[in-house]
C-alpha cells in the first residue's frame, strides 16, 4: 500500500512537471483543398450588423484676422546672445543693450518689440519658455537702464524662427538671441 502511495505521488508530480498531455496531434494532410465544410459546432450566431459611420469633419476657418497695428523696422539694433539653455544677460551683451536703451530714451514715441529665440537643439515647448525668459531678461535690463516697461513688448518664438539653418555650433550660437524690432504705429 505504501508502495502504491509513493507510485501515485511520483506519477502525479511527474505529470505536473511534464504538463498536460497535448490536446491535438497534427497529422500531415495532402495539400488538396477539402471542400466539405467541417464546422463541428456553430457556437457563434451572426451578430446584429454594425453600421460603420464617422462624424463628418468640416474645415474650420480661423476667425481672427491678422491686423498689423505697427510698421516694423528691423536691423536697427544688434542682437544679443545667450549660452545654451541659459537666459542670463552675458557681459558682452551690455554695450549693445546700452545703445538700445539710449536710443529709446531719445526717441520717446517709439516702441520696441523684444523677440526671444533659441537654437533648434531643445524641444519646442521648453524652447518657447526659454525664449520667453530671454526676452524678459532683456526687457528687465532695459528697464534697469531707464526704459519704462510700457515702451517694450515681448514675444517668444522659441526655435521656430532660426536666423541660421546649419547644424553647427556657430549657427546655434547666432540663433540663441534676443532680437529687437522698432514698432511705429501705422499711419504715422
Amino acid at each position: 500500500m505504501k508502495k502504491v502511495f509513493v507510485l501515485v505521488l511520483i506519477l502525479a508530480f511527474g505529470l505536473l512537471i511534464i504538463g498536460c498531455p497535448p490536446r491535438k496531434i497534427v497529422q500531415p494532410e495532402p495539400p488538396a483543398p477539402v471542400v466539405t465544410p467541417e464546422v463541428k459546432e456553430k457556437v457563434v450566431e451572426v451578430k446584429p450588423e454594425e453600421k460603420i459611420t464617422e462624424p463628418k469633419v468640416a474645415k474650420v476657418e480661423t476667425k481672427e484676422v491678422e491686423t498689423p497695428k505697427y510698421i516694423e523696422e528691423r536691423g536697427v539694433f544688434e542682437d544679443i546672445h545667450f549660452d545654451f539653455d541659459k537666459y542670463d544677460i552675458q557681459p558682452d551683451a551690455k554695450p549693445a543693450l546700452q545703445t538700445t536703451a539710449s536710443w529709446l530714451l531719445k526717441n520717446t514715441s517709439a516702441k520696441i518689440l523684444i523677440e526671444g529665440h533659441c537654437d533648434e537643439r531643445g524641444t519646442n515647448e521648453y524652447n518657447l519658455a526659454l525664449g520667453d525668459r530671454r526676452a524678459k531678461a532683456t526687457r528687465d535690463y532695459l528697464t534697469a537702464l531707464g526704459v519704462t516697461s510700457g515702451r517694450t513688448e515681448i514675444i517668444s518664438y522659441g526655435e521656430e524662427r532660426p536666423l541660421c539653418k546649419e547644424q553647427t555650433e556657430d549657427c546655434w550660437a547666432k540663433n540663441r538671441r534676443a532680437h529687437f524690432v522698432v514698432l511705429r504705429e501705422s499711419g504715422k
Binding site: 502511495f5 501515485v8 480661423t62 491686423t67 537643439r121 531643445g122 515647448e125
Partner: protein, 428 residues
C-alpha cells in the same frame, strides 16, 4: 494492525486528492486556453499564426490588406502569406486545409456592393475547427478604411481579449505654404485631413478624454493664445490669451478644466483654468521655467518640466501642486512628458547628444531608451498603452512616426514632403 490500516486508508485518500488536483489543474488550463488565443501580457507569448483570405467581392483585397497590416503592426500575429493557402476564398472553411500550413486562426469575408456596402466576416479557430466570430458590417463606399479597421478591432478583441486601437486617430501640426496648421489622420497615416486652423506658430494639440475636443496653442497677432476646437459643433474659440507665452497643457478628466503654462505673471508657471467660469488657479510659483504639464488618466497626478534644479527635468506632483518629486536624473535635458493610459509609465524626450524617446516609471525607476537615430520628440501613448507616436527628423524632414512600446517596429507614417510634428494619439 488497525492503526496501520487507518494510516494506509488516509494515504489512499491523499493519493486520490493529489490525482484529483492534477485533473483540475489540467482542465483549468484547457478552459483558459480555449478563450484567450494570445496572452498579450505574457513576456513569452508566441505570435499567433493567422491567415486572412482575400475577401470576395469589390475592394476585397484592399480590405483584407488593411486588416492584415493592422494585426501585423501589433507584433502579436504572424500573417501567413496568401500564396501558401490551399483553400480558395470561395470554398467553405475546412480546418484540414489550414492545419498543414500552420494557421491557427482564419479570416474569411465577402462583400456585397449595391445600395449599401455590406461586408460579412467570419473568424475561425483552426484547432477547434469552429467559427468564433461572424459579423455583418454596413457602410458607405468612402468609409472602407474605417470599416476595415473596425473589422480588425473585432478580430483583435476575439483573439487577444482586449480593445483594439485601429479606429484611433492622431492629431498633429504640419506646415505648408500658408503656414502651420492642425491636421488629423488615421493612426496608420492614412486619410490626412487639414483642419483649416492656422497661426504663425502652432503647437502640439491635446485631445479631451472623450475625443470630442482639441485644445492647442497658437501665435496670432504677436500673442500666444489657447484655442479650443469642438468636433461636435465644428467651432474654434479662443479660451485664453494674455501677454507672455501661453501653452497647453492637457485636459483634466471631465473636460471642463485644462492645465497650461503661462508667463502672464512674470515667469512661465502652471495654471488650471475652468472652461465654464474662466477662473484660473496657479499651481506652481517658481522663478524659473515650469512647462509642458501632462495629467495622469485618473487625474490625480501631473507630470511637468521644470528647470528649478538648474536644467530642464521631468517632475511629478499631485493635482493641487503638492508633493513635487523629480523623476529624471540621467542627462541634463529631459522634457515633453506624457502618461501611459494605465499610469504605470511616463514617456518623454531626453537629450543625449540628440533628442531621444525614453520611458520611466512615475517613481523615477526603470528608465528605458527607445530610439537612437536623429532627433525624436513629442512622444505620446496610444489609448491601449501598447504604442507610442512621436516626431523625428531621422529621414531629413521632420515627420510623424509610430512604434511599439518596447521600441520595435519604428515607422514613418506621414509623407516625406510634409513637414509634420507634435503628434497626439486620440483617446479612442
Amino acid at each position: 494492525m488497525i492503526e496501520k490500516l487507518k494510516a494506509q486508508s488516509s494515504k489512499l485518500k491523499v493519493s486520490i486528492f493529489i490525482l484529483l488536483l492534477f485533473t483540475v489543474h489540467c482542465s483549468l488550463f484547457t478552459v483558459v486556453e480555449a478563450k484567450v488565443y494570445i496572452d498579450i501580457n505574457s513576456p513569452a507569448f508566441k505570435k499567433l499564426p493567422i491567415a486572412i483570405q482575400e475577401f470576395l467581392g469589390s475592394h476585397g483585397k484592399e480590405i483584407s490588406d488593411i486588416i492584415r497590416d493592422d494585426l501585423e503592426f501589433t507584433g502579436l500575429f504572424a500573417h501567413i502569406d496568401r500564396d501558401a493557402y490551399i483553400e480558395n476564398p470561395s470554398q467553405p472553411f475546412n480546418p484540414r486545409n489550414w492545419i498543414p500550413i500552420g494557421a491557427e486562426a482564419v479570416v474569411k469575408g465577402s462583400i456585397k456592393d449595391d445600395k449599401d456596402f455590406t461586408v460579412t466576416v467570419s473568424l475561425y479557430d483552426v484547432l477547434d475547427g469552429k467559427e468564433i466570430l461572424k459579423k455583418e458590417y454596413k457602410t458607405e463606399r468612402e468609409l472602407i478604411r474605417p470599416l476595415s479597421h473596425s473589422i480588425a478591432n473585432d478580430i483583435y478583441n476575439a483573439l487577444a481579449g482586449e480593445t483594439g486601437i485601429f479606429r484611433s486617430r492622431i492629431a498633429f501640426v504640419a506646415e505648408d505654404k500658408e503656414g502651420k496648421g492642425i491636421y488629423i489622420m488615421d493612426w496608420d497615416g492614412n486619410r490626412i485631413t487639414k483642419m483649416g486652423l492656422k497661426g504663425n506658430l502652432v503647437l502640439s494639440p491635446r485631445w479631451s478624454r472623450d475625443g470630442t475636443k482639441l485644445i492647442y496653442s497658437a501665435e496670432r497677432n504677436r500673442q500666444w493664445g489657447i484655442y479650443l476646437l469642438d468636433f461636435i459643433n465644428m467651432t474654434e474659440r479662443k479660451v485664453f490669451s494674455s501677454k507672455g507665452t501661453n501653452m497647453v497643457g492637457d485636459f483634466l478628466p471631465g473636460g471642463d478644466d485644462f492645465i497650461f503654462s503661462s508667463s502672464k505673471d512674470g515667469t512661465p508657471n502652471l495654471y488650471i483654468m475652468n472652461l465654464k467660469n474662466n477662473k484660473t488657479i496657479r499651481l506652481t510659483s517658481s522663478y524659473g521655467i515650469e512647462v509642458s504639464p501632462a495629467v495622469s488618466t485618473d487625474g490625480k497626478y501631473i507630470a511637468f518640466v521644470s528647470d528649478r534644479g538648474g536644467s530642464p527635468q521631468v517632475y511629478v506632483m499631485r493635482r493641487d501642486g503638492s508633493d513635487v518629486r523629480r523623476i529624471t536624473f540621467e542627462g541634463s535635458y529631459n522634457t515633453s512628458p506624457s502618461w501611459s493610459p494605465k499610469g504605470d509609465r511616463i514617456v518623454f524626450a531626453g537629450r543625449r547628444g540628440t533628442n531621444q524617446i525614453f520611458t520611466v516609471k512615475p517613481d523615477g525607476t526603470g528608465l528605458t531608451q527607445l530610439t537612437t537615430h536623429g532627433n525624436n520628440e513629442d512622444p505620446s501613448f496610444s489609448p491601449d498603452g501598447r504604442y507610442i507616436t512621436f516626431s523625428s527628423d531621422r529621414d531629413g524632414v521632420k515627420g510623424i512616426y509610430i512604434m511599439r512600446v518596447n521600441g520595435e517596429s519604428q515607422k514613418r507614417i506621414t509623407p516625406k514632403n510634409l513637414r509634420a510634428f507634435g503628434p497626439r494619439w486620440s483617446p479612442n
